[in-house]
Amino acid sequence: MHELSIVSSIVESVTESVAAYPGATVREVRLRVGALASVVVDSLEFCWGIATEGTAMAGAKLVVIVVPVVMHCEACAEDVELRSLQSFRCPRCGELVADLRQGRELEIESFEIDEVEEKA
C-alpha cells in the first residue's frame, strides 16, 4: 500500500507546475501507469480524494491510462504486447521473452486547468 505516498508525490508535482498559472483551477490529472508498475489503480483513486483535500486539486478528476507490457521477442524480431503477466512468452511464437520495452511507467502525462482570463 504505497499508493498514498505516490498520490502525494503527484499532488506535489502538479502543485509546483500549476503555480505558473495563478488562480487556475485543476480539473483533471492524467497518469500513465504501466501494468508492471506495482500500483493498484483503485487504491490510487481512493487515495486521490484524501490527498487532494484542501489543495488546488480538490475536486479534480484523476484519469489513469494503463500502459500494457511490451516485450521484444528475439525470435520474431519484433516488439509484442504481453497477454498475461503470468507468462512472459511471445503471444505469436510462444518463446520466453526477457527484454522489457514498456510497462513500468509511472508518470504524470498532463493536467487540465481552467485559467482565469486577464481583464483587458
Partner: protein, 224 residues
C-alpha cells in the same frame, strides 16, 4: 475562463529515481557491490543474510548491511553478530525502503572501504519493486513454505529481479515442495534469471551464491 491542457510527462517517483542514480554512481565509484533483498515477511531474508555475511567475513571480505523494518532493531542485532557493520532503518509504517532512507543511513560510512553492501528491504512483495535504491542486483527471495506459484502472484516484483533465491531448502521434502514447478514459474516471469536453491541452516547452495557474488563484484569493479 479558458481550459488548457498542460503536458507534464514527469515520472511520479522522479525524485527517488534521481537520488537512486546518484547513489548508483557512488557505489560504482567506490567499487562496492550493492544488493537489494526483497521478499515476503517470513521468507528468511535475515537468516539467509546472516549466513551470507558470516561466510563472506570468514573469507576475509569487507561487508556491511542496512536492514529495513517497520519497527524494532531485532534484525540489525541478529546481523551484527556476524561482526559486519549493520544499521537498522525503521520505516515506521512505510512499506518499502526508498533512496532517501538509504542515503541518510549511509552517512559516515566510507563506501570505498566496502566490497559488499546488502540492503534487506521491508518484508513486502509489492511496494519495494517501485523504488530503485541504486542497487546493482535486486534479489527476490522465496521460501519452500510459500507455495510454488508465488512468482505468478507477484509478477511485478519477480520480473524486476536480477537473481532469485529459494530459501529453506532443508524443509523442501516435509513441505512437499515441487521444485521443478517453482523453477518453471520463476522462469516464466523472469526468463533466464539465475536461481539459487539455498538453506541458511545446512549451508546448501551457499557456495554457488558466494561465487555469484564474487563474479558480480568483479563486474561492478570492471565498470569503473
Amino acid at each position: 475562463m479558458t481550459t488548457r491542457i498542460v503536458e507534464l510527462r514527469r515520472g511520479i517517483l522522479k525524485k527517488n529515481d534521481e537520488l537512486a542514480a546518484v547513489l548508483r554512481g557512488r557505489y560504482k565509484a567506490a567499487g562496492v557491490l550493492v544488493l537489494n533483498l526483497v521478499s515476503s515477511p517470513g521468507t528468511g531474508k535475515t537468516a539467509f543474510l546472516e549466513r551470507t555475511l558470516r561466510e563472506l567475513k570468514e573469507r576475509g571480505a569487507r561487508v556491511a548491511a542496512l536492514v529495513g523494518d517497520l519497527e524494532t532493531d531485532n534484525d540489525a542485532r541478529r546481523l551484527a553478530a556476524s561482526g559486519a557493520p549493520v544499521r537498522q532503518i525503521n520505516t515506521h509504517g512505510i512499506c518499502h525502503l526508498d533512496a532517501d532512507m538509504i542515503d541518510r543511513h549511509l552517512e559516515g560510512w566510507d563506501l570505498a572501504e566496502l566490497e559488499y553492501l546488502f540492503i534487506e528491504n521491508v518484508g513486502n512483495l509489492v511496494c519495494p519493486s517501485s523504488y530503485d535504491l541504486g542497487e546493482r542486483v535486486r534479489v527476490a527471495l522465496l521460501s519452500v513454505t510459500e507455495g510454488e506459484d508465488k512468482p505468478l502472484k507477484y509478477p511485478t516484483l519477480f520480473n524486476s529481479a536480477d537473481a532469485a533465491v529459494i530459501t529453506k531448502m532443508d524443509l523442501a521434502e516435509p513441505c512437499g515442495f515441487d521444485r521443478d514447478l517453482a523453477l518453471h514459474n520463476i522462469n516464466e516471469i523472469r526468463p533466464g534469471i539465475r536461481i539459487f536453491e539455498t538453506s541458511a541452516k545446512t549451508g546448501a547452495g551457499m557456495d554457488e551464491w558466494l561465487t555469484y557474488l564474487a563474479e558480480e563484484r568483479a563486474l561492478c569493479r570492471g565498470q569503473n
